[in-house]
Amino acid sequence: MHSPIIWHSFFFLLFSILACAFAVAVVVTTNIVRMAFFLVVSLGSTAGLFFLAGADMVGAMQLMIYVGGTLVLLIFGVMLTAQQPFVSMHTPSGEWILAAIVGGSLLAVLLQVAWSVDAWTQGPPLPEAAYTREGTQGNASEALAHDPRFAPSQTATQLGFGLLGERVDQLSVKDPESRAGMSGYLLPFEIVSVHLLVVLVGAAYLARARYRASE
């Protein structure tokens, strides 16, 4: 039985390696500017993983908010605080080792958990038609066209409605009881929006230049 290369998996590997590698880079780098850069890459790769998981809207948000917003904010912070450029703050190597041990054990735990459920270890199989004898093609691509992995996902609308209090994705559920708890996220949305506002105001307040006030 010949298994064709699943491109979805390929991209997953690509993005995940990128994300992980740069995340590690973020960790190991001492230069704050580089860290910021590596982080951008890592977060961008993560956005790619979001796309691969069918969460196009979230991926987009990831790119927009994180890469376009948060990181800019961070870089501003770097610039504002780094009076001497490229300040490095040395971390004692003992702490590194300690952190490594702790991080390693945490990782071990998490990985064990990640692989502890059989249902999670494999994604939905390809359609039967995709598995052909070696050399036989045609049918397979056709079959793959119907695979949800490759189908474009359109979640923006659903999310928008969800945030407005309507779960259009759940329309198929007939049972009213099951639907009862799915009445959308309008309230959290509102809360979050207000929260954001508050945060912004607060941030502005906190970060305002002190000497001005004193003058």
Binding site: E95, A99, V102, G103, S105, L106, V109, V113
Partner: protein
Amino acid sequence: MEQVDQLASLVPLLLGGAWLLPLASFTLIFLFGPKMGRHGRLAAYVATGAILGSFVLSITSFTMWLAQHGVTGAPTHASHDAESQQAAAEKSRAFLLEPSTFDPAANHFTSVAYRTDDHHEEAGDDADHLQNDHHGHGTGTSDHGHAAHQAPEKVVYTGSWYPLYRSKTLLIDIGYYIDILTVSIFCMVTLIASCIHFYSIGYMHEELTDELVDNECKLPDGTSLRRRGRFHRFFQYLSLFCFSMLGLVIAGNVAMVFVFWELVGICSYLLIGFYRERHSASTAANKAFIVNRVGDFGMIIGLMALWGSLGTFAFGDVDGRPGVFTLVTQAPGGIPNGMVRLAAYDQIEAGVQPTDEQLAIWREQHLGYGLLIVAGLGIFCGCVGKSAQFPLHVWLPDAMEGPTPVSALIHAATMVAAGVYLVGRFYPVFSPEVLLVIAYIGAITLFLAATIAIAATDIKRVLAYSTVSQLGYMMLALGVGGWLAGLFHLVTHAFFKALLFLCSGSVIHACHTNEMPLMGGLRKKMPWTAYTMLVGCLAISGAGIPFVIGFSGYYSKDAIIAQVLSFSRANPAHAPLYWVAAGGAAITAFYMFRLWFMTFAGKPRDTHIYEHAHESPKVMYVPLVILAIFATGVAWRVPGTNLSLANLIEDGRPVTSMTDGVFWSSLRIPNEHLSHSDVGIHTTATLVAFGTALSGFLLALLFYGTRTLNAEEVQQQFPRIHRFLINRWYIDDLYWAIFVRPTHFIAQRVAAFDRQRIDWFIDSTARWVRGLSRLDDLIDRYVVDGFVNLLATWTYGIGLSLRRVQTGRLRQYVMFIAVGTVALFVLASFLWSYAMAGS
């Protein structure tokens, strides 16, 4: 009949008045004494007036009594006289009818209702109040009417004035029991007391000053004591005494007797200790009271035995409640049901029902007789104390520390005779065994005191021992069944002994000394005193012409010796009593004339004293003369009538039911009439009494009158006996050694026990507790607190170490979070696997 009715309420009223007058006088002097004239002179008139008033009232009631009842005279020689029997029967009929003669409107009627009411239990309190609200009224009752076949009816008025304690059936009250004996004694006491009051006005005049020098009381610096006079106090105490003494005589029950018993005791105490600055006086006063209390201790036991078994103290029947006499004399064998019941306590407790048959069975076993004896002996114990009988006679000689009129009144005539009076009064309750004890006590006392009197030189002490000795005579007489003889002697003795004491007081007043060896020849200086005293001596010696006439003492002593003789014939084993009585008569005559000769006859032995001696003032010797007259003739029969002292007393004779001993079945108390009617006994006794007295007189004459014999030689020949007598048989020393010192020793031990043992225990407990608490404190501080502190320190340390964890370092926190998470995971997985394995 109408007169009877009146008398029943009138006599108690009169005698009650006579009784209370001295109390009024006492109260007056107590409150206003110092303000009564200069130095309280008027107090004497108040007191004297009061006692005179009492005397008048007593005489009045006496006369009324005679007018009403006459003298039945169970005469000494004609007790079986048909005429008198008839008279007695008539009278008894009168008394049996008496209740119906009461005016229905009068309150007495209620009491009659009581008499019909058998046990008086249901009578209810309201009626009782009614009855008792009328003090001073009494009922004439016949004491033991059912025993009338034994003797003629006796006239008695009983009643209750007011209660001290009352419950449903028990009653302790102030009441009266008046028979002819009471009235006679009232007259005797008030008469003598009046004389002595007058006498005292003279005798005590030294006290009428602001500064009196008491030569017998030396201060530590050698000077004599100077003090204010206390004239009014003396009369105040005398009045109180008269009140108490009369109360004792009129008393209607033993409890009341006891009350006044104590009161005369305290008067005696106050008067003996009148010269309170003198240590000897106050000690003698204490001694008198405490020794009397020893007797009272026995008396209380007797009272308890009576009270616990009979539930009454009353002599006669009051308001229908049977008195002690009725209960005893009417009970078969003399043992009242109450006593039987109490003696059978154990068996009743065990469930035996005290039915009449059962009581009879018990009575057969003499159950309760012991109680009767205890009651009798107990009461007699009190009399022993008060009448200075043998074991308790020691106080009376010391009591001579008091002023002489006091000695005369209290310690010769009245109070000390109260014991004899009580024995006489309580006669029906004494069982033969008790009477025998009384007789022996009397005999011992008589002999002992007489011997001591021989050797004594203090004029008052001789008289004191003489008194003790004579009281012994009376007790002996009562003990051998001579009820009449004893009480007869009581009255005659009261007169001549009061006379003798007053005479000695007159001498002391003149000589300022008590010592007879310093006197002599005084009859020339003070003839009134000397010859009145001679009368007294003759009377006490029982002088008289046999079978014809004699001084009062002749009759009474005769009666006593006759009865003792009769007794010793009936009980040959007890013949020593007779010898003692006869011998005592000789000794009496000897020491009395020794006294008279030493004092009044011969040559003056101390010229200084003789020079200063003088006859007493009139106010003193007039009473002597009055008393001398009575001492001479009080026992004489009023010519042409039945009226004589003996007959009067005979009228008051109580009914006795017991003549034979139970425990000593050979013991027999002879009937007193026997000694009078039996010519053999009577004549023998008269001759013996006369002979012994004469021999005593002759001996005294030889020793001290003519000085033919030398008394000093005799003393030197028998020094031991002399010392023995001078030291009063060493009885005081003995008592000191076996009673007083051990008591003090025990007291010291007890007090020491308190301090050294109980308090020691308490204190050492306290110390222990303190020690423990100190230990506890240490434990607390070092163990408990240590532990707590350790915990706290640990906690603090842990906190500190944890504080170090709280480094404030952000990165470490992150590390902790991570480590914690991992640890949670590991833990959870462990638990999970366990849970899985378990399921």
